[in-house]
Symmetry: C2
Subunit: 339 residues, 2 copies
């Protein structure tokens, strides 16, 4: 478990896009009661909808920890953030982050934390003792969210699916694999920071043997169709040995985000290749449904996009942000029951 003390001040730096603020948005959405506000370095930066707040005002409002809640490609700490991070430590806040660049590797932050008697909490540190993946079949049931790309709802889908399954009385656990999910749930394995030889082994640790009727709802990472991040997706897929997968996509997205020369394959192709690769460690693996991000569309256009995705994929399609996770949960349970 992480030693994260609420309440949180959500630090958004100069986040230039909603995508780069997704860690903050996730915490604000799933744990609003733990957040006092957000702090941005520029009025143009993306917001996550919390009250805008100075470090001192956040301390007065009861904040104990400032969470560096940005994602950048490659997960770097930006040097322009340092004065604010030092000021937060000096004002009495712990600092937590989940970037590849560790807080504890920054001499200025280490010195400021020591002066102020505060803690630096790096979320993206893999557990000790990861072994090479064994491929051994484990007990219990598993559902993994997979994506046609990054940043289109794999974490949200898993959280909504977990909530809906729990609401239906299913014995289920959310298994976090990224910085935001880990901050939300207080546990997990940061898959993208594991050494590649141990990627599937790390995923095996995340969902150990369990009761026959227990479901692990595993947060996906990356995409098999992403030129930078397919390796983490494949290691997670093989180690998760999912019985059921939900394929996440965004309506209208034609190319990989930030990779305009890389088209996303059609849904049928994504389903076929994902299933082919998944069957290495679970011969019964199948995609049960499409989770379609329709946030850029109005209601009528969203319904049309869901119908089109369902027809294209030959599977039910849902938008859990718009409609909650109940439909997805039914599709997952029905797919497993057919096996």
């Amino acid at each position: 478990m992480l030693d994260l003390h609420p309440k949180y001040l959500i630090f958004l730096g100069g986040a230039e896009s909603a995508d780069s603020a997704k860690t903050g948005r996730g915490i604000a959405h799933w744990r609003p009661e733990l957040c006092v506000g957000e702090h941005r370095l520029s009025p143009d930066a993306a917001t996550v909808g919390l009250a805008s707040m100075s470090v001192d005002a956040a301390v007065a409002a009861g904040a104990k920890t400032m969470i560096v809640a940005l994602t950048g490609i490659g997960g770097k700490l930006h040097p322009s953030w340092t004065p604010t991070l030092v000021a937060a430590l000096e004002a009495g806040l712990d600092l937590a982050a989940g970037l590849h660049h560790k807080l504890k590797d920054q001499a200025e932050l280490v010195a400021a934390a020591a002066r102020a008697g505060r803690h630096l909490i790096d979320v993206r540190v893999p557990p000790e003792g990861i072994e090479v993946g064994s491929g051994r079949k484990r007990s219990g049931k598993r559902v993994l969210t997979v994506g046609t790309d990054c940043a289109l709802g794999k974490k949200y889908t898993a959280l909504a699916l977990h909530k809906a399954m729990t609401d239906k009385g299913v014995n289920a656990s959310f298994r976090a694999t990224g910085q935001t999910g880990i901050m939300i749930s207080g546990a997990g394995v940061p898959m993208d920071s594991v050494v590649v030889d141990f990627a599937s082994g790390a995923a095996e640790m995340l969902s150990p043997d369990n009761d026959a009727d227990h479901w692990d709802v595993i947060e996906g990472q990356g995409s098999l169709f992403h030129p930078g991040f397919a390796a983490v997706s494949l290691g997670l897929l093989h180690g998760s040995q999912p019985d059921v997968m939900v394929l996440c996509h965004e309506a209208g997205r034609k190319t990989i985000n930030r990779y305009p020369d890389h088209p996303i394959p059609d849904l049928k192709t994504c389903i076929r290749l994902t299933t082919d690769m998944a069957r290495l460690t679970n011969p019964n693996a199948r995609v049960a449904a499409i989770s379609l991000h329709t946030g850029k569309l109005d209601e009528a256009a969203a319904r049309a996009a869901l119908a089109a995705a369902s027809a294209e994929a030959g599977l039910p399609a849902f938008d859990p942000i718009r409609d909650g996770g109940a439909g997805l949960a039914d599709a997952v349970l029905a797919a497993e029951a057919r096996s």
Copy 2:
């Protein structure tokens, strides 16, 4: 470049199988002129065919470096080796190794090296400054060896192919991705020790832009069909953006080595899935030939196995250990010319 001083004493510990001695075998085969002998902890241990030699005899014969030339699953340093490693340092040898466990992380070895004024050389350390893979198309031509499993000739095939292409006057570079290849060639990127988010980016660094007629001959790692190591294979495949691939297989091998519950798919399936995944970063990628390890067969059985593999795959099949790399080189160049 590595700071490895010949001549080498090849340390084989108690290597229980020829597979676990493959680093030693590779160095002894491709750089025999740099080796004085081998040192084993047990007469039952695998040999690489060099003269058996004590540490002191090796020093007298001109050895400057003892190479820990074993591979274990997970790449661990075995505690039973420590007395011999310390004795080698005290006798005046540097120590080099390419396991996941670093020599420089072993306090006893660090202390002994300091006392003796010798060096500890960890080959399996990724370069600084690796970025997330960009997917950008690079100039020059690339051939990658891929495998149906581990330990069946991807490195040997790449080295033999590189030699044959060079013999034909082709402008070609061998690109090492594992400890043995790096020790043989003195350069490379240890793919399996890279953090998984940067796997394809590391592979992109390994074969940068080059002359239009230049070939990078890239050593493959793992297998897309291995429950533990598929992630590294996919990152290397995407980052290498190969024009041509050679699929390596061992005649008669039906299941993944050490994973008896995991059958190897048939050659056609392996070719189809490898090609499907490769086309994400190179739409012209294709498998040109089969490299078949026939070392366990007599000549007649080997010829029959090569004919059967060729018929099954619909591609030419060669055993470079038996016949050299010329046939493979012709197949690779012909496949590229057809594009």
